[in-house]
Symmetry: C2
Subunit: 580 residues, 2 copies
């Protein structure tokens, strides 16, 4: 029986990825019926170096704001910033309930407090196994293993059938907290029938199965044994399973634990209070006191695994940290993924640490890191447990999504039932069909610089990029008429008699520049440019002189030709005409 998509009596669910399909980070997915709308995850993304002066990137949420009366809730899969980092930004614009596990909400609360929205936030703690009714949707939370505890996948019962949204996951057979991925529930859902699976593609390009988090224990233990001086262990502040293993090993090897870095200190405290981290407070010391102990008596937990220039590790690498020092014989373990794009900054930190005489372990020379995302075989297992009719890959760049699509086909999902979509596309799902329609009008990225409410326009970013390429040159011309002081341009323009008397006086051309040439050493060049500007104005007739845009265009053109010929540089030239 052929279904007609145009037939509005046909039940359907729209799926709109607002972020995370076509990039890493920014994860946000909308599920929508005629009456109700829910959102899974509200992540942010950190900018690349090709976005100068951008602090954060949020998904564009106009789609939600325009439909806010039907938004029934925000569901969070886990507490990583690429899934919760935009929650404060969203809650400032939308007043909707939020659902997440205890740890996820505890981590999210920190930032909500910081931005003053914690008070009004409607936070609802759920546990794996719980089901929440949200209008046309019923959401069941399913525990999965990942690099942060208390992670869930979500099974959505919708008017057209069951949709499973995995969040981030792997099938860790020996998780540090002994809480396995809930394969039983996934298998039951598969037996009952899953209409669509939407699954994490981060490691789709990796063969095999991702090793257990516990698999690094042995090599870290080995490093503890070999290290005779201070030991620095560096990881993400949210990698609590990793941190648990570090703390356990520190106890075994009788080293006190100093924690440095605001986010790490906060997470260790929060997770300990909630019971997600098992720490004996007697073994914790203040990082400022680390130097009071012998080098072999302490281990320092720190962030900075991506070479972030202001991180504790980067400061130590340059011997610029207020109270921590890396010295010959010390060991630094960078127990985290080298995120593509960060190789250079990480390399810089490694080089400087080596210059300080430290021994360095990282994922490329030792087994000190394992991913929290499933590889090809994990992804196939998820597909096989659920046996979905339709499949859509999420979380990743286009190449990861495509590879995940190939994996789905390899386990038997018909290729016509696999939809590779990207941010802002609208996918319409019925019991029989799944189609990708065109783009939604408003979707994309919001660049943020400074306070979170200040959005950065694309045009400003383009200007920054151009400024950074060749700098800026501002010629300033004061045009003066003989009709007396204080007379305004408008007055003069209306008076043809006065026009003939308008002109430059000596000393009334100034040229300033930044990022173009070093002005102290380029006096001649600037003098020549002033002379060119003077000639341009002298060659204008009086009518032209009164059209500011003409004056600007002529000066800009003449100077652009001059500098391009002299130096092959093309700064942003921005003439200013002042009239007195």
């Amino acid at each position: 029986m052929t279904k007609n998509l145009e037939d509005i009596t046909e039940a359907n669910v729209s799926i709109i990825p607002l972020g995370g399909l076509g990039e890493f980070g920014l994860n946000m997915m909308v599920y929508e019926t005629e009456d109700d709308l829910i959102v899974i995850d509200t992540g942010f993304m950190l900018p690349n170096s090709d976005m100068p002066g951008v602090d954060l990137i949020f998904p564009d949420i106009h789609y939600l704001v325009e439909r806010q009366e039907k938004v029934r809730g925000i569901l969070l899969t886990h507490g990583h910033e690429d899934h919760i980092g935009a929650l404060a930004y969203v809650l400032r614009q939308l007043d909707v309930p939020v659902y997440g596990t205890q740890l996820t909400l505890a981590i999210a609360s920190g930032r909500l407090r910081e931005y003053g929205v914690l008070g009004k936030a409607q936070l609802n703690t759920i546990a794996p196994g719980d089901t929440v009714e949200l209008g046309d949707f019923s959401a069941e939370f399913i525990h999965v293993t990942h690099s942060i505890p208390d992670s869930v996948a979500i099974a959505l019962r919708t008017p057209v059938g069951v949709i499973v949204h995995t969040g981030d996951f792997k099938f860790d057979m020996t998780p540090v907290d002994r809480k396995l991925s809930d394969v039983q529930t996934l298998a039951r859902l598969g037996a009952e029938g899953v209409l669509m699976l939407i699954s994490d593609s981060t490691n789709a390009e990796r063969p095999g199965q991702t090793p257990s988090e516990r698999s690094i224990y042995g090599s870290i233990d080995n490093i503890f044994q070999k290290t005779e001086q201070k030991l620095f262990l560096c990881t993400f502040s949210s990698s609590l399973h990793r941190i648990q293993q570090f703390i356990d090993l520190a106890n075994i090897h009788r080293r006190l634990v100093a924690v440095t870095g605001r986010s790490l200190i906060n997470n260790v405290r929060t997770a300990s209070e909630l019971g997600y981290l098992n720490v004996n407070p007697d073994y914790l010391i203040d990082a400022r006191d680390a130097s009071l102990f012998k080098p072999h008596e302490v281990v320092i937990l720190t962030t900075g695994s991506q070479g972030e220039p202001r991180s504790a590790l980067a400061l130590m690498a340059l011997d610029d940290h207020a109270f921590l020092k890396v010295e010959p014989g010390d060991t630094v373990v960078m127990s985290a993924r080298i995120i593509p794009g960060n190789e250079k900054s990480i390399g810089n930190v490694v080089n400087h640490l080596l210059r300080r005489g430290a021994k360095i372990y990282h994922e490329r020379n030792a087994d000190v890191h394992v991913s929290g995302h499933g590889s090809s075989e994990d992804l196939k297992l998820m597909l096989n447990l659920l046996q979905p009719k339709f499949f859509m890959p999420m979380h990743g760049e286009y190449q990861n999504l495509m590879r995940h699509a190939e994996l789905a086909e390899s386990v038997g999902v018909p290729s016509e039932n696999i939809k590779v979509a990207e941010d802002g596309e609208l996918i319409r799902l019925t019991p029989e069909t799944c189609e990708v329609f065109g783009r939604e009008g408003r979707s994309g990225r919001v660049l943020v610089d400074g306070k979170p409410e200040i959005e950065l326009e694309d045009i400003v970013l383009r200007d920054r990029i151009q400024l950074s390429e060749d700098g800026i040159l501002v010629p300033i011309i004061v045009l003066q008429s003989d009709t007396g002081n204080g007379k305004q341009q408008e007055d003069i323009s209306a008076d043809s008699e006065v026009l003939t008397k308008t002109g430059l006086n000596a000393g009334q051309i100034e040229i300033i520049s930044r990022g173009f040439v070093y002005m102290d050493e380029s006096e001649e060049l600037i003098e020549e440019a002033k002379e060119i500007t003077r000639r341009v104005i002298e060659n204008l007739n009086d009518e032209q002189k009164h059209e500011t845009e003409i004056v600007q265009d002529e000066i800009r053109g003449a100077l652009r030709r001059f500098f391009s010929k002299q130096m092959q540089r093309t700064p942003l030239i921005f003439p200013v005409v002042m009239r007195v």
Copy 2:
């Protein structure tokens, strides 16, 4: 017998790395006695994204310019840009003979011609096995295998003993041109006694032996067999062994070869003329004619393996190339190393090519690339053949140099005889000792933007970086006195009577900005800033008003506080005071 370094009767050789020790690229090494100085290699480096608007980086050659009367020659090991790219820059400042193999000089000549120094350049072609006398030095050239043909290591006979400088090398047992590394000569030198080895560290961190260039032939052949539409083969323009294999396979699979990209076209022509590339001209077509043939009848050779935004491949990925198109069913092979720092731009190109429907092979998903640099076992073989007394690693970041030092120690070089130095350090070698002294005064990097003779000052680069972070804001204030038009500031300042009458007139404050806020949408903000500026000036007394620096400082301070509070942004604020 203890030697005294201060004893000037003791023969010694100074070694000064001007580039390549502490970074990849910029390779340049100085060997110097009291009377004579020679240089091995003159490389450049491409900038990272943290150096906006920088086109190229050259080594600082003040050390050579100051000693030009004793510079006896520049010796080139091979034709890669990180070894010859700064030759034109050096020859513009130094008139010295250059020695290199036929292919190396042919490739170098292109750039020398471009920069007008080919006419005066003294180019001397040498062949492997030749020896050249250069004052106190005698240089013997030794063939080594690398990713470009006609590469040599150099054995320097000096007053203190033999120094071997490897250049780039690997021990390829089945080289495409059948010319093996000259192990016999290296072994003979080892038997005679080598005082010091200075060796390539690029792949010191890789275990095992680097596979033969020929090892990729099978997988490329396989891709040819599977590809039913157009085949794009992307590599570096200098990878002539790779290009030879591509051309051989194209012949076997009856595809015509179209070459695109200026450097690739030039290198294919030059190498063919000199006999380093075996191409049947009947099988070459103009890339503009590629569309005249059926897709399975052509293979397109192209550059752009690093995702360079203006490369042919990047343009094709965006469907923006003038005459080449990537279409569904086409295959693209990126047969080159993913250079650290380029992951993001390469990833972008791959994503876009996938969106065009192409199949992509790169070094991470297929055996389509092999390095031209020796791995750990190659490096150990070099050490064992030469059995040097002293060892210094070159070519690489600090971590690569350190790893190479560990390898040297593992094959028996005493750790006190291993010297890890960096750019600008001075190493003094006697028959018995090798010591690293302090830094040479003038060494470092020359940043180039625009024409090669235009050096970019560090301060300009810093300005560019700051501009790119938060943009620039230029408040312009016209201060006017009532003493009549055209009277100069100097006149006014000298006349205390007039001081009291100096002030602002309406409309004489202008604020422009770029890269800070979008001015069309920030009128209110700018108006407020103008008002603040006005108030600052009104609050100054008349003496202050005549001190331009005071006026500027006060305005800068007030506006910085305002924008920092309003937006948490700190643009470069650059007030201009004009006086009429």
